[in-house]
Structure formats: structure tokens, C-alpha cells
């Protein structure tokens, strides 16, 4: 598993510090000041990119955190004489609280990305106007900061110290990003960005991960706000809470390459000085006042049309291509990962009682009850629209039943969230495959294993599962480039990587060739030998008949039969559901197995 390249961060750091020492020397004070602003924007974009890029949550309201950092430290300085260095941390802390507040409901209720984006924007506007109405924060007139030469008060006689400060912040932010990308948390953020459903299904706590990502980003952004206030020595609501700040963060980052390590830096380094050149060098008259905005806008449009991954992303493929490591010898299948103790077969693993689900006027699942014994392969069949997948979504926590109980290992699990159900020991696959498109096969399975294991065990487990499912030779392929059959096998491997006691397979045979079906059948049969319990929805009836010990038949949301494949296939109701009343009635054949 690889995160962002540390080498890139080191190179960027060297270049930044080279610029810090060379630019003011060679180009003079004016360009020194431009460099300070450039590095500040680069820093803010790197911070924004943690949520916008890594986590995939586009915030339109990061100016709120910037403003909080600026105002908190300034108010503490002016009212209580607190050093801005400490005020900086206080501002960061307030920003973290604000991030929890802003993120709480959108993340808790799993509202869409657009709602999150607009909500952050509304939050920023509320602060903009609210601060403008608070006299102790200087209302709309803003606050002037005292000037002096006390470094402890963030005042430097030599202006180059401001440059060192922001360069240090930027360097730290870059290395922090690299470090985070290499932790499990960073990997989970990327998984969430790639596919939230699939991330939840492997046991990742979406809410907590998103809250954490937004909090880190808000904290860093607030530090930038404090720096800005100290550097400019004057703040008012529009200069720190203005929507244009939030928009420029998005703009620079998208132009540079969203989700890449250096994209945010490159975007700012290209556009900020360019805007400055256009503004100062070309200004014949006041007519050129707007030219930097014009160029920024055109740059954004051009990048979206011509290079959707941004300047950096376009040079490196997808920005962070999976590197193919030197061939590791085909070592023996890993055996490091210990299996969870399997429940002796015979005991009841899953109890479903009176399960009921309505969607508006549609009664999708009506009073469904059944039990699954440990160690069995349990089939769920039924015509299209019978409610099979709806039952699965309730078993796996993706939807809550309107009524009824689900007990797993004797513990009620209805009302649990998907990641909690996963951790309780139920893993699922998706009828319509849900991949992490930008992850490699190996990353996908390792990420799933990380959600419930320590790293070492996880890596070994991922390797073993990929070898078992025949995906090991394809481990460095991006998921988006897999065939359907491979995606289905990957879904199984990913689900198994969470080391479940029960596996829910939703039509894993659909769309596969006969040979591929036979491979999957053999594999699933093997899983049972190892003590895993399997519940499968399947349309390929022959598979169900061969593989399952018991079969549940649903029609129009109701249970119409439950029993061994033989008894079920002779049940007149089942034949009717599959073949229609007329045919079933006229057919006197003893056992027309409803296979097609």
C-alpha cells in the first residue's frame, strides 16, 4: 500500500525553501511579498485538498475556518494580550469545533455532496454577517492589529520572517499530507472518496472518518487565517470570510490537480504570481483591475475541459498512479492471518422475524421471517422485484426495516449502521458491483482488511485472498479496468477481507459465463468447508439447487416457500410464481425445477 510520494514532498520542500531564500534576493521586496501570498494560498489549498481531494467532500465554505483562525487569534490578542502563537492554536481549536458542527448533520444523515457544499457555503455566510454585527469583533469596520517588533507577539521587524513562517507551515502541511495518506485513516478517506457505499460495506465508519478529515483540514486552514491576520495587520469580515476566498481555494486546487499531493501547490504557484504580473505589469489604467480574475476563470474552464485531472494530474496519469513494485517471488500463500474461530455448525447464526419494508406506497418486504444456521449455504430466490435485495440491504444495515427484528449471534442488529454490521461479522457484495475505481485490486482488498485488522495481518490476508480468487496476477490493475467477472471476484475477496462469519452474496453469478460460474461455485463451496456461513441471492437456479442446503423463496415481498431445494422446487406456489398460474396449473409434471 502506498500513499503520496515522500520524494515529491521533499523535492517540493527544497524548491519552496530555495525560492524563500532566492526570490527576495534576486527580485526584490515586492516579489518577496508576492511569494508570501503565493505560499499562503498554496498552504490553504493543501489544507482544503485534505477534504476536497483526499476525502472527496468539496467544501464551498472553507473561508469560514480561515476567518475563525484570523478572528479568534486577533480577538485574543487585542482583548487579552494573548500571544498570537497561542491564539493560533486556540483559533485552530475553535475551527475544529466549527468543523464538527458543520459536518455533523450532513455527515450523520449522509446528505449528498452538493448539500454539503452548499451547507458549508451557508455557514460561511452566516459567520460573515454575524461577525459584522458584533461590536467586540469590530463589526463591519474590522480590527487593526497592533504593530511592533516582538517575535513572541508574531511581530517581525524583518519581514522575511513572515516568509519563513508561511514556508514552514506549507512544508509541514505537505509532509503531514504524505504522512496521513500512509495511515489507515488516509486510506479510508480515499476509499470514501472513491465509493461511499463500498467503504461502509467494508466496515469504515463514514461519519467519523469524514468528521476527522474535515477537522484536520479546518485546523490547518485556521492556522493560515491567523498568519494572514498577523501579516496584513488588519482584518474585516469580507477580507477573511468572503466567498471569493473559498472559491479561489477550489479554483487553484482544481487547476493544479485536485486530490494530488502537489496539485494545490502548483495551482497556487502558477496562478497567484500570474495574477500579480497581470495586475501590476500590464496595468495601463483601471481597466485591467479585473484581469487576474478573468485569467483565473479561463484557467479553471480550460483545465476542466482539457485536463480534468489538473496540471499535476495530467502529467502523472491519475495523479497518483499505482506503482508496480519489483516482482516479488510467488511466495507460498500467506498463512499469517488467523481465522476468527468459526461457530460450530448447527447453532442459529441469524434470526429474522417479521421483517417489513415500505417505500412510499410500495410494500417491498412483507413480514419476512427465517433463520440461518451456522455453516450452511442459504439461498434466497424469487422473481424480479420479489424483495430479495431489499432484504439484503436491511440485513447489512444499508436500510432500516419499518418493522421486524434481525438478530445475529443472538444480538439485535437492526438499526446498526453498515460499518457496525460489518464489524459484527456480516459482509456483503453488491448486485451492481461497487468498486473503488481509482484503487488497485490489491489496495481494495488491503483497505477492507485494514478496517478490522492490524496492518501486518491485513497485508497477509489480502495477499491470501487475492491468490485464492485468482486475482493476484492482476493486483496492480485499477478496479475501473477489471472485467465484470473479475469485479465480482474482487467483491467477494473484499467482503472476505473483513473476516466475516456470514457472507451475503447478491447475484454474484449474474452475467458470468458457464466456466466462470463453475469457478465461483467451487469457491463458495470451499468457503463453507472453512466454516463460513453464506446467504446468497441467485437467479441461476441450478447453482442454488446444487449449492444451498436450504432455500427461501420470495414473491412480491412475501415468503412463499422455505425448505430444501427439492421440496421448494416441487412447491406449487413456487412453480406458479416462476411460470405463471396457467402453466403451473396445466403442468402435471411432478418436479419441474424452476430452472431456465
Amino acid at each position: 500500500m502506498k500513499g503520496y510520494s515522500i520524494r515529491q514532498a521533499i523535492v517540493a520542500g527544497v524548491l519552496i525553501w530555495a525560492a524563500v531564500f532566492l526570490v527576495p534576493e534576486l527580485l526584490g521586496i515586492h516579489w518577496g511579498n508576492v511569494l508570501i501570498l503565493t505560499l499562503l494560498w498554496a498552504y490553504l489549498c493543501v489544507a482544503w485538498n485534505l477534504t476536497g481531494g483526499m476525502l472527496g467532500q468539496i467544501s464551498f465554505g472553507h473561508a469560514a475556518f480561515f476567518g475563525i483562525g484570523a478572528y479568534a487569534s486577533t480577538a485574543l490578542l487585542i482583548r487579552f494580550g494573548l500571544s498570537p502563537w497561542l491564539g493560533m492554536l486556540a483559533g485552530g481549536a475553535v475551527a475544529v469545533l466549527a468543523a464538527f458542527l458543520v459536518g455533523y448533520i450532513p455527515f450523520r444523515l449522509r446528505l449528498t455532496h452538493l448539500v454539503f457544499a452548499l451547507f458549508t457555503m451557508a455557514f460561511d455566510f452566516v459567520l460573515l454577517y454575524l461577525v459584522g454585527g458584533l461590536p467586540f469583533l469590530g463589526d463591519v469596520n474590522g480590527l487593526y492589529l497592533p504593530v511592533g517588533t516582538d517575535p513572541w507577539m508574531f511581530q517581525f521587524a524583518d519581514r522575511s520572517y513572515y516568509l519563513y513562517t508561511i514556508a514552514a507551515l506549507l512544508t509541514l502541511a505537505l509532509f503531514l499530507t504524505v504522512a496521513l495518506s500512509r495511515t489507515a485513516t488516509g486510506q479510508f478517506w480515499r476509499a470514501i472518496r472513491e465509493n461511499e457505499e463500498a467503504a461502509a460495506a467494508v466496515g469504515i465508519n463514514l461519519f467519523r472518518m469524514k468528521q476527522a478529515g474535515l477537522a484536520v483540514s479546518a485546523f490547518l486552514t485556521a492556522l493560515g487565517g491567523t498568519f494572514y491576520a498577523q501579516y496584513v495587520a488588519f482584518i474585516d469580515p469580507h477580507s477573511v470570510f468572503g466567498l471569493d476566498i473559498a472559491i479561489k481555494l477550489i479554483l487553484f486546487t482544481v487547476v493544479g490537480g485536485i486530490g494530488t499531493l502537489l496539485g494545490p501547490v502548483v495551482g497556487a504557484v502558477v496562478l497567484v504570481p500570474l495574477g500579480e504580473v497581470l495586475r501590476t505589469e500590464l496595468t495601463g489604467g483601471p481597466g485591467f483591475a479585473g484581469i487576474s480574475g478573468l485569467v483565473y476563470g479561463i484557467a479553471l474552464i480550460g483545465v476542466i475541459l482539457a485536463a480534468p485531472h489538473g496540471l499535476v494530474g495530467s502529467f502523472t496519469g491519475r495523479g497518483r498512479k499505482a506503482t508496480v513494485p519489483a516482482e516479488e517471488g510467488e511466495s507460498s500463500p500467506g498463512s499469517a492471518a488467523p481465522e476468527k474461530p468459526s461457530v460450530p455448525s448447527g447453532g442459529t447464526l441469524l434470526e429474522v422475524a417479521g421483517l417489513d419494508k415500505r417505500f412510499g406506497g410500495v410494500h417491498a418486504v412483507k413480514d419476512v421471517s427465517f433463520t440461518v444456521e451456522a455453516g450452511e449455504i442459504f439461498g434466497i430466490i424469487g422473481p424480479n422485484g420479489a424483495g430479495k435485495t431489499t432484504v439484503f440491504t436491511m440485513l447489512s444495515g444499508f436500510r432500516q426495516p419499518n418493522n421486524g427484528h434481525i438478530r445475529f449471534l443472538g444480538r439485535p442488529i437492526e438499526g446498526l449502521e453498515p460499518h457496525q454490521v460489518c464489524r459484527a461479522g456480516i459482509a456483503r457484495t453488491f448486485q451492481i458491483t461497487q468498486t473503488f475505481p481509482g484503487f488497485t485490486v490489491l489496495e481494495t482488498v488491503t483497505t477492507a482488511a485494514w478496517a478490522s485488522h492490524d496492518r501486518h495481518a491485513a497485508d497477509a490476508l489480502a495477499r491470501r485472498l487475492l491468490q485464492e480468487t485468482g486475482l493476484w496476477p492482476r493486483r496492480h490493475i485499477l478496479c475501473a479496468n477489471l472485467t465484470l467477472a473479475e469485479q465480482r471476484r474482487l467483491e467477494i475477496a473484499r467482503a472476505l477481507a473483513t473476516q466475516p462469519r456470514m457472507l451475503l452474496l447478491d447475484e454474484v453469478m449474474a452475467g458470468l459465463t458457464l466456466t466462470e460460474i463453475q469457478e465461483v461455485v467451487a469457491y463458495v463451496a470451499g468457503l463453507r468447508e472453512r466454516g463460513l456461513t453464506v446467504v446468497m441471492i441467485e437467479h441461476v437456479v441450478r447453482v442454488v439447487m446444487n449449492l444451498c442446503q436450504r432455500v427461501l423463496v420470495l414473491d412480491a415481498g412475501e415468503v412463499i416457500a422455505l425448505g430444501t431445494p427439492e421440496t421448494v422446487s416441487r412447491n406449487p406456489k413456487v412453480i406458479e410464481a416462476y411460470l405463471g398460474r396457467k402453466l403451473a396449473g396445466s403442468s402435471s409434471a411432478p418436479a419441474p425445477a424452476p430452472s431456465v
Partner: protein, 292 residues
Amino acid sequence: MITGTLLVQAIVSGLLMGGIYALVALSLALAFGVLRVLNFAHGDLLMVGMYGAVVLHRWLGLHPYWSILVLAVPMLLLGWAMFVGLIRPVQQAGVLVQAQMTLGVSFVIQSAALMIFGADLLNIRTNLEMAVLRVEGVVVSIPLAIGFAVSLLISGVLSWALLGTDAGRRVRATAQDPDMARLCGVDVERTQRWVFALSVALLAGVAGCLMTFTYVVPAAGLQYSVLALLVVMLGGLGDLKGAFLGGLLIGVAEALAGGFLNSAVGPAVIYVLFGLTLLFRPRGLFGRGMEA
């Protein structure tokens, strides 16, 4: 002091202004409903119309109401070109990429306005500007009332066209389910192109009405964009009736906040309202919009 008359005054002015907002929001909601593109440059396009009215008045002495007719066609073409050149290529790229694209357009328009017209307030002096009607102590601004009427008229024609004509049915079919509409023989791309162009052309009407009593600055575009977004989210994305009612609601809320609160904090109320709606009624106040 909150008096009855003051309250009535705020509500009346708010409703009239809200009617104009409603048309801005209606056209934004229409475009979103049919294209699923949230146009952050909507207010900037409105601003283009406002500057257009100013130019027409300066060059030809045209009254802003007449400029509505003159501007409708160029605005239609502008919308057409924007769809073909910028929106169409990113239609498959997801709602946030499209939002970024329209943000870029917003930046370009705003900066171009600043370069061409400068940062000064521009307005048009008409004999209407200060005209008022007094009813029982409540002051009704005549240009505002006319703007309200024009907005109501345009919205009425629009809803008749959507409900009563074949073209309207094609538009509604595309909004409901583009794939299904395509299977039924609707030229979805053509419908979307026309709807987007129309949504921009409608802004000519708003621009003409606004310029009889207010002014334009380059920053106005973003303000109107945000306002329109707010109204559309309140009404429910893609819900046209909701957008209209949302417009009225925001107009009144703004007038009440402006009239009775510390004026600097006043606008915050609207954003709080907006945030709460997003959180608790993501399908809009009336619950009929699309999942955002």
C-alpha cells in the same frame, strides 16, 4: 419599534421583491431540473442583462422595459453558446465538476464586467424610479410592483408552456427521466440546449425590471447567484412551484430581517434559514424537489 404598519410594509415590499427573485430562481430551477446542472453563474448572466440594459439606455435611450425585448435574443444565444461550449462537455462529469465549471464562468463574467465597466455603481434614471403608491400608510414602489407583475406574467406563460404544449411535455419528460425520454423519441440534447438557452433568456426580463429601480456593480452577479441558489434549495431542487414560493419567502424574510434586525446581521437570518432547510428538508420546504 415593531408596529403593524411597519410589518405590513416589510411584507408587501418583500413579496414584491420576492416575485422578482422568484423568476430568477424559476429559471435556475428549470435548468437544474432538465440538465441536473446547478449553474453558479446564473446571477452573473443576470448581471450581463443588467449591464446590457444600461448600455442600451446610454446608446439608444431605450427604457429598461423595452430592453427586455431587445436583450432576450442575445441572452438566448449566450445561453445556447454556454451550453454547447461549456456545459455539454462536462455533462457526464458529475454535479460538482459542473459547479466548478460554472464558477469559472462566474469569475470570467465578473472580471470582464470589472474591466469593461469599472467598479462604479451604474443605474438608469427613469421617471419611474421614485414613483410610489400609498395605500393606508403602506408605501408601494411602482417599479417594484411592475417588476412583480412582469415576473408573474412570464412565470405564468412559462408554466402554461410546460403544462399545455408538446414542447413542454418533452421538457417535463426529460426532467423526469432523460433515458426514458430518449427511448420515447425525445431529442434530449436538443431539449436541454433549448431549456438552458431559455433559462438564460428569461433573465433578460428580470434584468430589465431590476434596472428600473436598482443599480448594478460587478459583484452583484455572485450575490444574485447565491440568492437564486438559496431560493431554489428552499423550494426543492427542480421544483418550479417551490422555486416560485421560495422566492416570495426569501423576499419577505429579507425585508423582515432588514427592517427589524441590526442591519449588519440581518442577512445572516436568510442563510440560517437556508442551512436549516438543507439539513432537515433536503428536498425543499415542500418536499417535492429532487435529492440534492
